[in-house]
């Protein structure tokens, strides 16, 4: 733990200016992840800038039929919103599958997708971690990999000493749903406003695992837009975890099925718990476009999607089970979504 300065500026622009001016500054939203990191020494900011009262706490209708979620709306508020529950059940379900009631009352729309991995080594400053301390190595490789990635990792045995190695997963449930919804992120930064397609917000480790997203220093999420879904679209979130509540996903699936007839049918599938970012199963979606969603067809499509998956060995038996589990969970989710049709 390290002392830090705390600021509560009067406007979003001022908050952005303060953070941009101080390399060691961070934004504070609901604080459900950052405050833990302050205690653990995972985060050691010089300046904490509280934006909880600055960004919008409104959920508003957009002219195209979509919804805009202000960055300060809480997970509880979004999950309870009637429009969200009716039009985007996948998002309401994902939010309610995350954390606990108390945490959801604090966690925000702007902050939730930016929470950091729960890799046990990332959270333990006495162990090596390229994400926390670039260049120190990756303790997760060959370690406790149950909650780690199988997609977007280079091989089944990455080099634990290499500076680019990271097999962490992104822990957010909300983000998986937002990925499936093709949400759009509004950002205000030192250079002004920009929008980012949600699928481009998070990044794979690449050569810099310390960066979870494409956001630059001082860039603040101000709102997230949910584009309208096609008429008659159905959506659902299925989270598979080690206990019935208050656990991160081993595998989760956000799915959207649209189209009145089989030939017009489109499917969107996003996976959680399997990669450094919410994973859109683009190859599977393409294969399933306009086809009957039989268990065989979905299983085949997921098999193609997962051809690059790399099971990670580990001290607790490794995480190879996630590969069949991902397919089985997608099959079950799509079966449930199309059961009455």
């Amino acid at each position: 733990m390290k002392p830090f300065a705390f600021a509560r500026p009067g406007s979003v622009a001022e908050a952005v200016r303060q953070v941009a001016a101080e390399p060691g500054a961070v934004f504070l939203g609901g604080g459900t992840n950052l405050v833990d990191h302050l205690k653990l020494g995972v985060a050691t900011p010089e300046l904490v800038v509280d934006v909880r009262r600055l960004t919008s706490r409104e959920i508003s209708d957009l002219p195209d039929g979509g919804l805009r979620l202000g960055a300060a709306t809480t997970n509880s508020e979004v999950a309870a919103d009637r429009r969200v529950r009716e039009r985007y059940p996948v998002l309401a379900q994902a939010l309610l599958a995350g954390a606990t009631g108390q945490l959801r009352n604090l966690a925000t729309t702007g902050g939730n997708p930016l929470q950091r991995t729960r890799c046990v080594y990332f959270q333990d400053v006495t162990t090596a971690c390229n994400k926390r301390e670039p260049g120190s190595g990756c303790s997760a490789v060959n370690g406790y990999t149950r909650y780690h990635a199988v997609l977007g990792v280079p091989s089944a045995m990455p080099d634990p000493t290499a500076p680019e190695t990271c097999i962490a997963t992104h822990p957010s449930d909300m983000a998986v749903a937002l990925a499936a919804l093709d949400a759009v992120v509004h950002v205000l930064g030192p250079a002004g406003e920009r929008t980012i397609p949600f699928g481009e917000l998070h990044r794979l480790p690449g050569d810099d695992p310390s960066r979870d997203t494409v956001l630059g220093h001082g860039e603040l999420v101000t709102a997230i837009d949910l584009p309208p879904l096609p008429d008659g679209a159905r959506s659902a979130y299925r989270k598979v975890r080690d206990r019935a509540s208050y656990a991160f996903a081993l595998v989760s699936v956000a799915a959207v099925v649209a189209g009145d007839s089989t030939s017009e049918r489109t499917v969107r599938i996003a996976l959680g718990g399997v990669a450094h970012k919410p994973w859109r199963a683009a190859r599977a979606e393409e294969l399933l476009r306009g086809t009957p969603l039989t268990e065989h067809a979905v299983g085949h499509a997921m098999g193609v999607e997962l051809t690059t998956a790399q099971p990670q060995p580990g001290i607790d038996g490794g995480n190879g089970f996630k590969i069949p589990l991902a397919t089985r969970t997608v099959v079950a989710t799509l079966r449930d979504l199309t059961r009455e049709t």
């Binding site: 333990d124 162990t127 303790s139 406790y144 080690d242 019935a244 208050y246 991160f248 001290i315 079950a332």
Partner: protein, 697 residues
């Protein structure tokens, strides 16, 4: 035979006397003790699993304004006794396990103490460590005794011959994980060293026994008992981890003695508890069962391999229940330990019986399947007439009745067939037996005094949240033959008469016996019309004790498990337990204890698992987000019932102890139900979805 108390207050479900204070938040726990100008201590822990501290740089920590002391092995006071290496804090440069204490910072605020602790730089000469338990570890040895003083190995008959010739055999290896007790209240202490005071050391500690706690502090610091007072009115759970003081208590006292006159508070963080507060060793259980055609056991054997630390031995008595549970002409139990570079294992709820009722009770299920005999019936067929271990008659044993009543309540006779499927879920049911010995500690004393028209009972007992504040008045009221409202009980302070630890499910038996002796003596001496200030003390060693009989509580647990056919997710909608544990003093607190134990057993079955990382020598998932304890959403209909069991041999209350039996056998019942549902036999805990997935397609 003992003359049992006439139950008037006993048997009533009185509400907890401390309940209101806890709900209102006015019950003060150790860390919250109101003291003047408290200072705060924060530990520095070793970051290597084995080696020597070669250099310590405390200058950055000491330079912070408000830091009062930085202690390491270089400047800490020399302790009077270092016999117990776990408690010999900051006495040497040796590091015996990762996370061991290598320093402590005392500062004016908790934040400052923590910041300064981060600034202490420690260098090590690292040695190769060995922290991984394997069944054929080259250093396995036979301990002299197993906890607390049982024979390490026992043998009778010829197990090998029976295995070679029996109609049916089971030979399998089962394993239980490493578990951490994780009480809600962390290990916490407020300590004040005031050399000018009549009692120079006062310790407000979260402990399962103020007197044993004081004895350990006195031993380590070379103090007389009259120099130390330990106070603990409330405990937020212990589960054995506060039954014997761990290094944190000694560190708090050491820190307090470095800043005389200034009270020092030290609470372990949840993460630190995974290194310093004890844990249950993982166990590897090699089981052999041999049976004739009718299911009667011809042999039962358990060979246990588990771990201990290099600096202090703890030998979990995992094989002990196999010595007495079922009839068999041939029997063998053994224990072997691997001494490793690991934190010191210790007591956790039902040491011995908890892991030791896993392997045998799953093996019995496998035997039942092999023989085509119902698993309830198989257990009934192996009911021993007398204690197989000692040949003594039972004080009372109603396992068969528990099995039958449980089967009736659960609807066992109509249970679905194997691999029964309802919608997306496979459904299975399983059964296992429970057992826990009825214990009474050798030392405890109670005073009964008539004071301002009420009866005051004083005994330094502990209430872990379990109900001692409430049940001891019930016992005293019946022993004195007065309404319970006329009795005030004072506990949790070494100024009160000496009491034993709340452990081994012995608290109520022991303290209640001492109270009963004192109360009867009081009535004999002063009659029914005592004068103000009249008092008598009584000791448990004056209470009748029938050691010609084997005394145990028994039970049967039934689980319904649902396994999702797509994902392997496991749910337990029903868990029923029926127990025969003598007379139940207070049904309200008893039910809470029993369903708490069963839920903890469910947690062991499905969730709890301290994942050991042998590369670095620590638990990888060392917080409550990653170390999963069963949550409300996992718990369906958990029911605890009990038989109206009369046992005149155990003590004047006729009570057997209920704190631990609930956790025994539960995991086996769940595993047996998972097998029934899916056909997958999981022999290593916990049962997680990845282990059942291969059996679902």
């Amino acid at each position: 035979m003992t003359e049992l108390l006439e139950p008037r207050a006993i048997g009533r479900g009185l509400v907890r006397r401390d309940g209101e204070a806890k709900v209102r938040g006015t019950a003060t726990y150790a860390y919250e003790t109101p003291v003047e100008r408290p200072a705060y201590a924060f530990p520095v822990q070793a970051t290597v699993a084995r080696g020597r501290v070669t250099a310590v740089d405390t200058s950055a920590a000491e330079a912070l304004d408000g830091v009062l002391a930085v202690l390491t092995h270089e400047n800490a006071e020399r302790l009077a006794s270092t016999d117990d290496q776990e408690l010999a804090v900051l006495q040497s440069a040796e590091v015996a396990f990762r996370g061991q204490l290598v320093g402590v910072v005392v500062a004016g605020t908790s934040e400052l103490a923590r910041q300064a602790a981060d600034l202490v730089r420690v260098e090590y000469a690292v040695e190769e460590h060995d922290s991984e338990l394997v069944v054929d570890h080259p250093a396995l040895y036979k301990p002299e005794k197993v906890n607390p003083s049982f024979e390490t190995d026992t043998a009778e008959g010829d197990v090998a011959a029976a295995m070679a010739t029996a109609h049916a055999t089971v030979e399998q290896t089962y394993s239980t994980a490493m578990y951490h007790n994780n009480p809600l209240e962390p290990h916490a202490t407020t300590a004040l060293w005031d050399p000018s005071a009549e009692v120079p050391l006062t310790v407000w500690d979260s402990t399962q026994g103020v007197h044993p706690d004081r004895a350990a502090v006195c031993e380590v610091f070379g103090l007389g008992q009259e120099q130390v007072r330990v106070i603990c009115p409330y405990v937020g759970g212990g589960f054995g981890s506060k039954g014997t003081p761990h290094a944190n208590v000694m560190l708090a006292v050491l820190a307090a003695r470095a800043v005389p006159g200034r009270p020092v508070k030290l609470a372990l963080t949840r993460q630190q508890m995974f290194f310093l507060a004890g844990y249950r060793t993982p166990t590897i259980q090699r089981m052999q069962l041999a049976a004739d055609r009718t299911g009667r056991l011809q042999a039962i054997a358990i060979d246990v391999v588990e771990q201990t630390s290099r600096i202090k031995e703890f030998a979990e008595q995992t094989g002990v229940p196999t010595r007495m549970m079922y009839a068999s002409p041939s029997r063998r139990t053994t224990h072997r330990l691997a001494p490793l570079d690991v934190p010191v294992p210790s007591w956790m709820r039902a040491p011995g019986e908890c892991p030791g009722m896993f392997g045998p009770e799953v093996a019995l299920d496998e035997l039942a399947e092999a023989l085509g005999i119902d698993p309830v019936e198989l257990r009934i067929r192996n009911e021993p007439a007398v204690d197989p271990e000692t040949g003594k008659p039972w004080s009372s044993r109603h396992l068969v009745e528990c099995l039958r009543e449980g089967a009736e309540r659960f609807g066992w006779a109509d249970r679905p067939p194997a691999r029964h499927r309802e919608g997306d879920w496979f459904v299975g049911t399983g059964v296992a037996s429970s057992v826990y010995p009825t214990m009474r500690m050798a030392t405890s004393e109670a005073v009964v005094r008539f004071e301002n028209g009420r009866y005051v009972v004083e005994i330094g007992a502990a209430d872990l949240g379990t109900g001692a504040w409430t049940v001891l008045p019930q016992i005293a009221a019946d022993a004195l033959d007065v309404p319970v409202d006329d009795v005030e009980v004072r506990i949790g302070d070494t100024r009160l008469p000496e009491a034993s630890v709340a452990g081994g499910s012995s608290g109520t038996n022991t303290w209640g016996s001492a109270i009963t002796v004192a109360a009867r003596e009081f009535r004999a001496k002063f009659g029914r019309d005592p004068g103000d200030g009249d008092e008598v003390s009584g000791s448990v060693d004056q209470a009748a004790m029938d050691d010609t009989r084997a005394a145990y509580a028994f039970g049967a647990q039934f689980a319904e498990v649902r396994v999702n056919a797509d994902t392997g997710e496991l749910r337990v909608p029903r868990l029923y337990g029926v127990f025969a544990a003598g007379r139940i003093i207070n049904p309200r607190t008893a039910r809470s204890q029993l369903i708490g134990g069963m839920t903890m057993g469910l947690s062991m079955a499905l969730h709890e698992n301290s994942v050991w990382d042998p590369r670095i020598g620590q638990v990888a998932n060392h917080d409550l987000a990653e170390y999963h304890v069963t949550v409300n959403a996992d718990v369906g209909d958990v029911q605890a019932h009990w038989l109206d069991e009369h046992d005149p041999y155990v003590n004047a209350m006729g009570s057997k102890g209920i704190g631990e039996i609930g956790i025994t056998g539960t995991a086996a019942a769940v595993v047996n139900a998972v097998h029934r549902a899916t056909g997958v036999r999981v022999r290593d805990l916990p049962v997680t979805l990845d282990k059942v997935l291969p059996g679902l397609s």
